[in-house]
Structures are given as C-alpha cells and as structure tokens.
Amino acid sequence: MKKIRVRFTKHGAVRYIGHLDVMRYFQKCIRRAKVNVSYSAGYSPHQIMTFAAPLGVGLESEGEYMDIGVEDENPDCAAIKDALNEASVDGIRIKSVKVLPEDAGNAMASVYASSYEITFYDDKKDDCPGTEKVRELIERMNAMDHCVYHKETKKTSRDIDLKEFIYELKVSDSEDNPVINMTINSSSADSIKPGFVMEFMCGLDNIKLPVNALKITRLDMFTQDEEGNLKSLEEVGI
C-alpha cells in the first residue's frame, strides 16, 4: 500500500456540508473515480483514509487534505487527480495529488497551523469596519504583548492569550471590503478559531460584528518542519 495526499477545495453550496458528510462524500467519489483504494481487513472493510483538521460548516477552503491508501506500486497521481475531478461536484475540486514519503505523518496528526482569508458578507459589510479601520485595529493588536480573549462555551469559560496562537495577521489593500489574512495555530482541539481573532480585534474599538458577518476561506494547512518553520501539507508529498 502507498499513501497519497489529496488537496481539495470546498466552495459555494458545498460549504454547508459537515465534515462527516465530506468523508462519506469522498468514500463514494473514490469509488466513482475507480481509484484503486486500499481497504481495511475484517467483515465490513472500509477505505483507508484520513482527513486533516475538519472545516466548520459554512467555511470555504482552498486547502483541504485527505490521505488515502492505494494499492498501486507507483501511483499515477495525474490520472488519479483527473479521475477524482471527473467524479466530483463543481464545489469540490482536486488541486493536487502527491505520493507521501513512507515516514510522513498522516494528515490529521501533522496539522500545526492553518491560514485563512476573511472578508465580510456583502449584506453585512455596511455594519462592519472598513479596510482602514481594520488596518488600524490590526496595528494595535500587533503592538500588544497579550491579547486576552474570553472564551465562553456552554460548559466552560476561560481566558486565552490569542497572541500565542497567531503567526501572521494582516489586511491587504482593497477598496471597501477588507480582506484579512491570518495564519493561526490549529494543532489541537483547544486551538483558536479565526472568529475569535476577529471578535477580539473589533472589540478593541467596541465594534460588535453582526452574526454570520464573516466570509471565511481556509487557504492552506501547515505542518512544522525540523527547523520549526511552517510547511504546507501539500509540500510534504512528492
């Protein structure tokens, strides 16, 4: 069995499909594409597949990953990519297929950070800060030593220093609707979400964002190489 890593996108209507259903979707897509996938042993064999960090419902993505086992000695990655694309819906496109080195960790275990692009939904942007405002807020955040965000869930409530989790935060020059880029830690269950950063940032100026204002696209996911640098999960493959 060889492991291959598949990078795919999630756009448009399919962003409302939950993580478990994306997995079920690919089980069928792989069969339609007639990929020579490996199966587990046992009475009801299942496909050998692992997904990187789940994407929340409503978010889009340019950089989702799944690793699958295949029974080919030398997998024809270009052919697999084409076949999967042929068998897939418009909103889910395969960007790359690469063979994983024997010693590579699986997609789920190796995720360390994720990068996101965030804008405001058209029907909400009038009630959201403009580009200049966002630039000012980001500068303020970048100058702070600690950004303590109070996280409240049904069961727990705790304070998180967002600073420990943010690797990059910037806004690019765009006309009225700001385009914010951030790279944040996503190594474990208690990692932060892009929404926390946005909420904290706006809170600095007492701005309350309307519900569902954020249009979030995950751009990529990263692992950490030996030197501690972020490396795209795609680049792990060969």
């Binding site: 209507a13 069928k28 339609r32 064999p45 819906v89 909103g91």
Partner: protein
C-alpha cells in the same frame, strides 16, 4: 438569491439544523437550461429530505421526466419544522432544489403520497409554495398539482387539494400528459379546458369534475361525472413489461445520510401472496418480474455512477422472485470484488435464505426476521398469511443451528375475527423458538450469547381495496387491551426473560383508518388540523392526537363512522370508481372466506381469478410470455 446559486441566505442556512437538506448540487442531480425546456416539473415528496430522497418511485419518475428534452424535473421536499417556521415568518416561498427557484415557477407540482399521515405536509408544501390549497381557487398561472402513489387509490379525503390524480404506475402516461399540456399552451387553452382534456387520458382522475351525493346516514349515495366526456371509472395504469421501461441508472446521491443510503434495486412489482390485510398486495397486481440480465446490468451501472457501498433488493416478497438464486450468485460474487455490501429485506427464512444471509452478513450482528402477523394458525388462515408454525419453527431451528441468536417477530393486533387466544399464541410461538434454542445449543456452545427475541406489534388499519375494507377497526382502548393480553401471554412463558415486547401507538392507527377510508368530507378535517398548526403528523414528536380529535368534532364527523364501523356488503365506497383490476366481488368473497378461516392459494400455485388478469401482464393465466 445569494451569490452561490442558493435560494436561502447564509443567515438562514447557518441557523437551521441541517442546511444540506436545502442546497441541492448533489452528484447526479439534473441541471438544465430553463430556456431550453418547455415544461418545468417540481416533483415533491411531502416529508423531510432524508425520507423523500430514499424513495425509489420518485427517482424513477425524475429519471424518466428528465430523459425528455423538453422537460426539466426538479425535487422538492418538506422543509423541516425549523425552516418551516423561518419561511412563514419571513414570507419565503418554497423552492426547487436543482434551480433553487420558487415552486411557483413550475408548470406542474407532482406530489407522491406514500402514507396517510403525510396529508398535512401536502398542505404545508402547497401553502409555502404560495399555491391556493384548493383546486377550485387556483389561478391560470398556478402550477397544475398532480398526486400519485399508493394513497391515491382512495384520493377522496385529499381530492379538494389536487387538480389531477395519476392512478397507477407513473411510467406510462406522463409523456401523453405533457404533450397535451404543451398543445394546450400553444392553443391558449384555459386551466379548466386543459384539465377536462387531461381527464380523458387513461389513469388520470380530475376530482373537480365529479358530483358526490351522500345518503342520510352519511354513506356515499352516488359518484358521477359532472362534466361531459369525463369517464365514470378510472382504471389504474400498469407497466406491462418491466424490462422495457425506465429505471434510473444515475440516481441522485445525497450528501447527508438518508434512510436509504444505498442503491435500491426493484426486482419485481406486485406480490403473489394475497394477505387479506395488505393493500400493496392488491394494488400492484399482477406480479411482474424484471429479468436477471436487465437487473445485473442496471445495478452495476448504478454502483458505478453513485459510488454507493451497499445495494438493497426491493420488492414486497423477494423470496418469491423466481430467479433469486441466479441473481444472487452473480451479485454476491461481483459485490465481493467491489467491496459492496448487500442487504436483503423481506426474505422468508429457510435453508436457502440463511445460506445467502450467511454469505452477506455478520451472523453475530444480524438478526433473523419473521413476520407471521398473527399468533395462531387459525388467525393466520383468516388473514391468508401463508406461513405455518412449522415453517417458522423449522426456519428458526435452522437459523439457531447456523449460529444466529437475534430474532425479530412482527405481528399485527386487531385483525378482524381475532380472539384473545389468537393473541396469546404470540407468546407461545416466541417461547417455542426460545425453547428450540435451549434444546439445540448446549451451554458451552452458546458463544454468541443466549437467544434474544424481539416481538413487535402494530395495530391493524383497514385499507381500501383489501378483503378487510368492510371490517371495523378496534377502538384505541380495545387496541391497548389487546396489547396487554399480548404482554400477559408473553409473561406467562417459561422463557419470557428472553422475549422483549414492544407495541406501536394506537392513536395514530385510528386516524390513519379515518384517512385511509375517508370520503371528501374528511378533507375539512385535514385542513383544520393543518390550520391548527399540524405538520409532520407521521413523526410522533409532532403528532398531536388532540388536534385531530378536535378537528373531527368541529367538522361534525366521527371515528365511529369512518374507523370503527363495519360496512354493509353492498355499501358504495368512495374509492369504488377506481378500477384496480381486482374486483370488488373477489374482495368480498375473500372477506367471507376470512370469516370462515379459509385460505386462498397464491397466484403461483393457482389463480383465484381476482380480475387482474385483464391487464394481460405478469403471472396471470393467458399472458403470452415474451422472450427472457
């Protein structure tokens, strides 16, 4: 519409329980250019997406209509209660999944009606679509509302809500109906002119063109065409050769897990058995089989196009399919190669079926199912269930020896002519199976644990076009008493600890009886219940019995009349104008035989002359077999 070609806004989609129900865009869903078609058809299953998407009949019609270049058929389901509320608050119309545009844009709204308890959801769908609930109130630009499916064999309780009913199998007359529609459009006909012409297409029934009169006692006096040229009788449509018709090779694959998360392969239509309580067994006569070659070709195409990991055979009684061994041999071999599971519902338990189950299931996890429907041999004869105690015990014995330990038994309580001894027989039978286990399997061999038997009972609902259409139904109190008798009968058994008993709800059963054998007066009840907020009555969480009881009372009707009353032999029934091939005389003879505990042989052993031979199809005598 939002930028992603979705009808609902991001705010709404993020606020509802399962947004995937409303986004369309599934694999194999059919997208056409609206400008390239002449007829838009909205095909609706009036229940939640996961239920509606699991229905084969709708997939067949969807596939057929979309194979016509001039038609675009799209799907519509009932919005779940959370979205229903939002749509009412914000005045958002119901929409079709493929184009994500309002149902109101369609030329036809087809609704498949599979069970009585969905009637309030039909009104929900019409209402949310912005279509007047009653046919007579609809305007020229409203879609033509057409109903199909098993409940339309007594369409009268919902007659007011439909423009047309299609009686029978959908494959045969839609082309004709659409041609007529296009012609009428070209000629500038009015809605009524179109409907009058449609009424003369075989199988189509336009309820508005009939006069109904009642006797003083509330029974039907007469049922006659009110417009010239409209037929007095409507004969059901039947596909003569199932190999020579539509079958979806590329069914739509939902994103969310649906009730049927698999390829469904219908191997035959109809049933040879003739159980006297069973409506499907009469409605789908005569039995017609699909050929093995056609089935195998179809199923592999479906697996290729969907990627499903499982296939399920579907029919009323799969063991009666004559080429079952041949079909399964090939299917099991190929599915093993493809790592596809096979599920086999409705098999009679015998050496053959156990051997097959052993090949396709994990014995430790799977269970062996029997549906004797009645506890004593006497009562099984009354209902003409051709399953003897010997069959059951020998099947169970073989299963026990094969290593199975989980057994399920299904019974019905409240059959006509039932006595308490018959009910107590349920416990006896279950006990005998348990005793077989303890006798056959020594203590040290019980590696899969001891036997566990689940007994489930539902309550009998008399249905039109069955031998029991004349029969009175038990009241809820009587039903509950019977359930206690059954429970007591089980509790008296030596092995009672190994037998688990559960019974279904009695309240919905009597309402089902009202809706099943109702007349046009009952439509007022359905409307009232809907106006009181009733939807999703098929879901126990949303079913409110009080609402129905009040509505029945307010309409001046009674369950005594519709559910609990025995009909006279010569009573004119609201559904008598429909001709299903099986004659009323045959059914009455069956009712009388039931009273005497006499059985009728099945269609394969000996034709009983029910009348369905007039279709010239399937198993009936006089039918010339084609190749195959």
């Amino acid at each position: 519409m939002s930028s992603d070609n979705l009808f609902l806004s991001n705010d709404i989609l993020m606020s509802v329980e399962k947004p995937e129900r409303y986004i369309g865009h599934e694999v194999n869903s059919c997208i056409k250019d609206p400008d390239s078609v002449r007829v838009r058809f909205a095909m609706c299953f009036p229940d939640v997406y996961e239920i509606g998407m699991s229905h084969l009949g709708i997939q067949i019609i969807y596939d057929m209509l979309n194979s016509f270049d001039d038609v675009w058929c799209e799907r519509v389901y009932s919005p779940w209660v959370d979205l229903d509320k939002v749509m009412r608050e914000k005045n958002i119309p119901l929409f079709m999944l493929e184009s994500q545009t309002p149902v109101k844009n369609a030329d036809f709204l087809g609704i498949t009606i599979q069970y009585e308890m969905c009637y309030t959801n039909i009104l929900q769908v019409l209402d949310l679509s912005g279509i007047p609930l009653e046919s007579g109130d609809r305007k020229e630009d409203d879609p033509i509302v057409i109903g199909g499916g098993p409940c339309t064999y007594n369409p009268e309780p919902i007659a007011d809500f439909f423009d047309i009913f299609y009686i029978g199998e959908g494959e045969t007359r839609y082309r004709e109906l659409i041609d007529l529609y296009e012609k009428c459009k070209d000629e500038g006909c009015t809605r009524d002119e179109f409907l009058i012409k449609a009424a003369s297409i075989p199988g189509l029934y336009v309820p508005r063109f009939y006069n109904v009169e009642y006797n003083e006692d509330g029974t039907l006096k007469s049922f006659t065409p009110a417009v010239e040229g409209v037929p007095a009788k409507v004969r059901k449509e039947v596909v003569k050769n199932l190999d020579d018709t539509y079958y979806p090779k590329k069914p739509v694959v939902p994103y969310i897990r649906c009730v049927q998360d698999r390829v469904v392969l219908e191997i035959m239509r109809g049933c040879i058995r003739g159980c006297r309580f069973c409506q499907a067994g009469e409605l789908y006569r005569p039995v017609r089989e699909r050929s093995v070659d056609k089935l195998l070709d179809t199923v592999y195409q479906m697996l290729d196009s969907t990627g499903y990991e499982e296939v399920s055979l579907s029919s009323l009684s799969s063991s009666d399919y004559t080429h079952l061994p041949e079909l399964l041999d090939n299917l099991i071999e190929e599915c093993n190669k493809r790592k596809v599971n096979i599920t086999l519902p409705s098999l009679r338990i015998d050496a053959f079926s156990l051997d097959v189950m052993n090949k396709v299931e994990d014995i430790k996890k799977s269970s062996v199912t029997f549906a004797p429907e009645a506890g004593s041999q006497r009562l099984r004869n009354v209902i003409n269930k051709g399953l003897t105690e010997e069959d059951i015990l020998s099947g169970a014995g073989q299963a026990i020896q094969g290593g199975w330990t989980k057994f399920k038994f299904y019974f019905m309580l409240g059959h006509p002519f039932e006595t308490d001894e018959d009910i107590e027989g349920i416990g006896d039978l279950a006990n005998k199976v348990a005793a077989e286990f303890f006798e056959m399997v020594p203590k040290d061999k019980r590696t899969n644990g001891p036997i566990s038997i689940t007994v489930s009972t539902s309550f009998f609902v008399p249905k039109p076009f069955t031998a029991f259409q004349w029969a009175p139904q038990c009241t809820q109190d009587e039903f509950i008493r019977k359930a206690y008798v059954c429970r007591g009968g089980i509790a008296n058994q030596l092995n009672q600890k190994r037998i688990h008993y559960n019974w279904h709800d009695a309240d919905t059963s009597v309402i089902e009886a009202l809706l099943a054998r109702g007349d046009r007066k009952v439509s007022a009840v359905i409307k009232k219940v809907y106006e009181k907020g009733g939807i999703y009555d098929a879901w126990s969480d949303y079913y409110k019995h009080d609402r129905w009881v009040k509505a029945i009372e307010e309409c001046g009707l009674s369950l005594d009349f519709y559910a609990f009353r025995e009909r006279k032999d010569d009573e004119l029934f609201p559904w008598d104008f429909i001709d299903i091939g099986v004659s009323k005389a045959f059914l009455l003879k069956e009712y009388k035989k039931a009273a005497r505990g006499e059985i009728t042989s099945n269609c394969r052993n000996k034709c009983s002359g029910c009348g369905a031979a007039s279709f010239g199809a399937g198993i009936c005598p006089g039918v010339v077999k084609s190749g195959n």
